[in-house]
């Protein structure tokens, strides 16, 4: 022994762990591993990441332009649906995979001192990697479809960051609750479906009657997608603060995001010390 006095540490199951670098290393490692494993054994690999949104997009585009005719007066309607679909897919993947994340990582949680927060965070990171991969192709499509790059495109990272923040808050809440209540899974499946139609994905938010606009845009996902349309696809579309009727009204969706995150963190933190034994 070298006789160096080492600080006495108290050992408790923890949220973050005592070492932030280890925390980050763990989250990144888990996320990268999951990402690698996703296409393990598939020949086409990356192509499948793209196939789902693009094929879904193809069907929707055909139905809503050729049959329903929603594309009237909507410049770059196709590009908009594609962006909206990809962003929503990220959101539903991140939250949906968080639900059973703790339960499926049971062996880690029970056999190792492991900062609990790493697990939902790694799930969100994996979804973020996927989004990044998909966005490359989506931007290529946008350029090919004749959308001109603008400075507004720089707003997209902010939109993605806010969406990630919202998804993380929900993910924390869902994963911690799922350990106790297994019905979180079907409830969230339905909620995701509802959210899909309650957000401007198949249509654009300006089609929503003016009287519903404010209530409609209280949904953080709807607000973010509306802003995405203005920033990325069609600078002529109304920005979200205009659509909602004044910047101060943005406090509603913003507040929901913050409240959900704080609530999620609070519940997760409360459950964290006993997660291992309740699994």
């Amino acid at each position: 022994m070298n006789g160096v006095a080492v600080e006495v540490e108290h050992q408790r199951p923890s949220l973050l762990g005592s070492d932030l670098r280890r925390f980050w290393n763990l989250a990144l490692t888990l996320a990268v591993t999951d990402f690698k494993l996703r296409f393990y054994g598939s020949v086409l690999g990356y192509v499948w990441t793209l196939a789902r949104p693009f094929m879904f997009f193809g069907v929707i585009y055909f139905v809503f332009t050729e049959i329903v005719g929603l594309d009237k007066d909507v410049p770059n309607y196709g590009v908009y649906i594609l962006f909206a679909l990809v962003l929503f897919q990220f959101f539903s993947e991140a939250t949906g995979n968080c639900v059973n994340a703790l339960v499926s990582r049971e062996n880690l949680l029970r056999k190792m001192r492991f900062p609990r927060l790493v697990i939902p965070l790694a799930v969100v990171l994996t979804a973020l990697f996927n989004l990044g991969m998909t966005l490359v192709a989506v931007f290529a499509f946008a350029l090919a479809a004749g959308v001109t790059p603008t400075w507004g495109w720089l707003e997209l990272p902010v939109i993605v960051a806010l969406l990630t923040f919202f998804a993380t808050g929900l993910g924390l809440l869902l994963s911690a609750l799922f350990v106790r209540y297994r019905d979180v899974q079907p409830i969230w499946d339905v909620a995701t479906q509802i959210l899909f139609y309650a957000s401007p994905i198949l249509y654009v938010s300006t089609m929503v009657p003016e009287s519903y606009q404010r209530a409609y845009l209280a949904n953080p996902v709807a607000a973010l997608l509306t802003e995405m349309r203005h920033a990325v696809v069609d600078p002529g579309a109304r920005p979200v603060w205009d659509a909602i009727g004044g910047g101060e009204r943005l406090l509603v969706p913003g507040g929901i995001v913050v409240v959900v995150f704080v609530l999620g963190l609070w519940v997760f933190r409360r459950e964290a010390p006993r997660i291992a034994e309740n699994l």
């Binding site: 763990l26 591993t33 001192r113 106790r180 209540y181 034994e277």
Partner: protein, 416 residues
Amino acid sequence: MSVTVPQEAAERSARLARTAPAVTVEALSKTFLLPHRQYSTLKERALHPFASRTFDTLHAVDDATFAIHQGEFFGIVGRNGSGKSTLLKCLAGIYEADAGHTAVRGRLSPFIELGVGFNPDLTARDNVIINAIMLGLSRRQARERFDEIIAFAELEEFLDLKLKNYSSGMTVRLAFSVAVQVDADVLLVDEVLAVGDAAFQQKCFDQFHRLKGEGKTIVFVTHDMSAVERFCDRALLLERGRIMAIDAPHAIARAYNELNFGRVAPAEAQDRFGDHEAAEIKAAWFEDAAGERTTSHPQGEPLRLCMEVAFHAPVQDPLLLLHLRNEVRHTIFATSTDLHDAATGRFEPGEGATLRVELENWLVPGRYDLTATVARAGSGADVLDLREDLASLMVHGTRQSGAVVEIPHTLELQRS
């Protein structure tokens, strides 16, 4: 054949006792609530709002207080369900204790089992890096030590094989090799050495010796008493969540064996021969050297075989015989009064006799049954009373030579 603590080991434990404790545990308790019915959906919860309020409490760890010195190899032993793993999980910070306090000086290894987080669909190469990071190395450190890890595991040819194609022994080798690379001052180890071939086990033991030499503290949970005696400086015996003893390894190993084998049921449906009218065997039993009756006896310690006879009719020079059988029904020891040329004399009705045979205990660990016979003078064929397997004894110990008995011997190796 008594067990002595070598002088060196005694000095070592005295030296360890003077160093600061690496792990201190004070009044640690962990209780699990076991609901009589588990409701895990909202509907069930709503329908039975009060139903789950009744539960059993399980005191997995109950008021445990102990300290482990720096540089000590500390064993935690106990039977299944005695709370060993819960105690280890509380130490590791996986479970939160309900009461009490633990403190660890220095870095604590974060895992209690080997190969945690191994993914069968990834190659050994990926798994090693991932596992090393999980155990607390940085990505760069993991890459730097990669070759060393693989060389230690002797798996160079199988680097790009998916882990699911590994044999369980290979997986454990890989896991152990990563685990010993972790920079921790206190290592927690839960039952690891069960797998792996003999050569690799030896390698593991060598590693433990190295770690011990470097002054690392190792907390080792196991069922294997010979490993406890081989490695541990001290050990702790846990039973139903309570600490029964903290002592030198051989004392703990003995106490553990007594716990396990203390309640040996005598063989059932004993066969009895003879009419037991003239003479009757009242009892047979085992005694230790102090004359205490025992059913569980340490290997190597002197032992007495005893029987008690009562006479109901006059008998001239009866023979008293004892047979000791092992588990596979081989008679490994037998004696009788006539082998010792002892004419037993005349017994009148109402008289009795007790025979005691003291022997040097050459018995190997295992179960033994004692058969007692009383017969008329002669060849012993004219049996008055014969009771098979009247008493049972468990001999416990950790030296397993594989032989039927362990004959005391000296061993000398002369170089030529």
